[in-house]
């Protein structure tokens, strides 16, 4: 339906030291989910795992630390080569 895929340039983003391959034009959340990253942050109070829920920047479930800045809604920002991501929040 949507035509060919895979012709875009690839970029490399970093998640807590691990290299992840993404496509130019991906949102950060999509790139991570597509690489089987499911846990984006841990909740403040009960320290539970959270991942994308709305994918349009309204629910904040996909928030991560991006290049040192916390609470970034990864579903509405594009990947950039060399971007550094971190899972936000402490685990149990």
């Amino acid at each position: 339906m949507l035509g060919r895929f895979g012709d875009q340039n690839k970029v490399t983003i970093h998640l807590d030291g691990k290299e992840i391959e993404a496509y130019d034009g991906d949102s950060v959340a999509a790139a991570l989910w597509g690489s089987d990253v499911k846990v984006f942050n841990h909740s403040l109070r009960f320290r539970e795992p959270r991942g994308p829920a709305c994918m349009i920047g309204l629910c904040n479930c996909c928030d991560m630390i991006v290049d040192g800045i916390p609470n970034v809604r990864t579903c509405i920002i594009p990947v950039r080569n060399g971007m550094k991501l971190s899972v936000q929040g402490k685990t149990k």
Partner: protein, 91 residues
Amino acid sequence: MNEGECQVVICRCEEVTEEEIREAIRKGARTFSEIKKITRAGMGICQGKSCQRLVNRILAEMTGRSVEQLGFDTPRPPLRPIKLAVFKGTD
């Protein structure tokens, strides 16, 4: 671990549980604003976008009012989180 129905969170951001919201209503909270001030539900980073509907449903059930009658709170700027440092450099 969360066990039982009332340990389910209603406010996803501040992780206010259903039981805490019901307790606030039992103590006299009658509007979303009041529940917000007591429990912090709706004060989190999404500012009630995810939970206001769910809280209103519990309010309606427990107070016998319809959701129509409950109304919604008034948002204040900023509508999205911004860094304080941003105010130093206006475009």
